[in-house]
């Protein structure tokens, strides 16, 4: 880890002023930043600890029915907030499927949105990586690509955004609140993570020194509370990043889907949401054909970036499973294994309830 200057400003204004220094970086829970500093991937000269800034730790229901969550609200606290979990159950399920209980106690909303890719070549300072060192190339292109993108990628970068939390947030059209040297602005979450293109490896659209201060879920987001699921395929049952994940939410009118929200994780450099896929479902009954058509529409244009064509098949199947489960209704209690495709019923697991 490189040496740095540690600052703990007392106010938001002070923090933003301090962030003008070259090489300055915000520190929230530290679970991503310190990890990457230990392996020499991030080398900030100044660390601005924002974990105790006043006013960033609140969950508020606004008068218009929107919900506002401060940037320092810890992932665990948000998932366990009874009101929040009742209104946005797929967001709570996604949060609880991420990392471990200890990490969720430390990880903040802002840090989760801003976390770096888990591409193993990004994490290895000896490998070529356009994201870490613009222009150096991309070692992943001929490498191990199981965790890499199958949609929206370019030769500049095939990395995915690893967050679970961001996937249902994208489906619900969350708005990120940003403060910076030039004042404050609202940023739709769909515009936070840029896809790579022919010349750029992608990344986030925050300007240097800009800070996420919070996030709003618009009033209509709570309308999906009765039919919402998040499913995540992993290489082990718990405490692993998504190979592929899906947030599926429906607003039902009788047995017809009035409106659908659908987004994928693990397949692209941003949570993958396409209006065409949601349009396929609007006005349809949640039957096999409509659901299969929605899966095809969401994955239109998918192509392997290496030895990962299986992720396209997995994604299409998981989208369908998630939509069927969403149509069946949000579970009354959070499943024992949040976001798992395996059953949570002790009897069906063949396990006595008392060991």
């Amino acid at each position: 880890m490189n040496l740095f200057e540690y600052l703990r400003p007392a106010s938001l204004d002070e923090a933003i002023a301090a962030a003008r220094a070259p090489g300055a970086t915000y520190l929230a829970g530290g679970t991503n930043l310190l990890d990457l500093m230990k392996i020499g991937v991030q080398t900030p000269r100044t660390i601005i600890d924002i974990s105790r800034l006043p006013g960033l730790d609140r969950i508020e229901r606004l008068a218009d029915g929107a919900t506002r969550v401060g940037a320092m609200v810890r992932n665990a606290d948000l998932a366990r907030d009874a009101d929040f979990a009742a209104n946005y159950p797929a967001v709570a399920e996604a949060l609880l499927s991420g990392a471990s209980a200890q990490l969720r106690n430390a990880a903040s909303l802002g840090g989760n949105l801003m976390q770096q890719t888990r591409c193993s070549y990004f994490q290895d300072p000896h490998s070529a990586c356009n994201r870490r060192e613009p222009g150096s190339g991309c070692a992943a292109l001929d490498g191990e690509t199981r965790n890499h993108a199958v949609i929206g990628w370019s030769d500049q970068c095939i990395a995915t955004h690893p967050s679970d939390f961001c996937v249902p947030l994208a489906a619900l059209g969350a708005v990120v609140e940003v403060a910076g040297p030039g004042g404050t602005r609202d940023l739709p979450i769909a515009q936070l993570h840029m896809l790579p293109d022919a010349t750029s490896p992608g990344g986030t659209t925050l300007a240097p020194g800009e800070m996420i201060t919070g996030l709003r879920l618009p009033p209509e987001a709570a309308a999906f509370r009765d039919n919402a699921r998040y499913l995540k395929l992993r290489e082990r049952t718990s405490f692993a990043f998504a190979v592929v994940s899906v947030a599926a939410m429906l607003r039902m009118e009788g047995d017809v889907i009035a409106e659908a929200r659908l987004a994928l994780g693990g397949v692209a450099a941003q949570p993958w949401r396409r209006a065409e896929a949601e349009a396929v479902l609007a006005g349809a009954k949640p039957g096999d054909d409509a659901i299969a058509a929605a899966a095809e529409a969401l994955m239109a244009g998918a192509r392997p970036s290496g030895d990962n064509a299986h992720k396209i098949t997995l994604a299409k199947r998981l989208i369908q499973k998630a939509l069927h489960l969403a149509a069946a209704g949000t579970p009354a209690v959070m499943p024992a294994l949040p976001a798992s495709v395996f059953t949570s019923e002790p009897a069906e697991r063949g396990e006595p309830a008392d060991v």
Binding site: M1, L27, L34, Q102, L103, A106, T237
Partner: protein, 164 residues
């Protein structure tokens, strides 16, 4: 210029001058305060051996700067027993054989205590396994660990009920 921080560790105030801001809470606990019960496994948030309670919440002390925890109340494995009287979670781990080599055990016990305090543990082993998945046991004593958490949770719940 050294940073001065103060921590309440297992009920005792510790004033520490940090010559180097890079020190993690784990390093300070082990190398400055001399409490080596908290273990360093991976040093990267992946194993849970370094789990301690900060203001009652379980976290990985390897991924937290000590400077960030200025003023916090820290509980480590050394803070649990009252003399020779083991904490109910410690006793349960012994009764159910919740370990072999013991390296992961301080982290497992602190994580179990954190989980019980969260109030979400019940008697479903699947929920316990999920909630304890941040603690890896290389000896794979998972069956005993799960039983220990269920046992300790039930006992601590009963004691609480009989006290209230």
């Amino acid at each position: 210029m050294p940073l001065s921080i103060s921590l309440i560790v297992n009920g005792e105030q510790k004033d520490i001058a940090l010559e180097d801001p890079r020190a993690t809470l784990l390093d300070v606990l082990r190398d400055r305060i001399g409490l080596t019960g908290t273990k360093k496994g991976c040093d990267r948030g992946q194993c849970g051996a370094c789990t301690v309670l900060i203001d009652g919440r379980r976290i990985n002390s390897c991924l937290s700067l000590a400077a960030s925890q200025d003023g916090a109340e820290i509980t480590t494995i050394e803070g649990l027993a009252a003399g020779d009287d083991l904490h109910p979670v410690q006793a349960a781990f012994i009764e159910t054989d919740g370990f072999q080599c013991g390296y992961c055990t301080p982290g497992q016990i602190m994580s179990a205590l954190g989980l019980i305090r969260e109030g979400i543990a019940d008697d479903d082993p699947e929920r316990i396994r999920e909630a304890m998945s941040g603690n890896i046991c290389r000896c794979a004593a998972y069956q005993g660990i799960t039983e220990a958490v269920i046992k300790a949770n039930a006992r601590m719940r009963d004691t609480q009920e009989s006290q209230s």
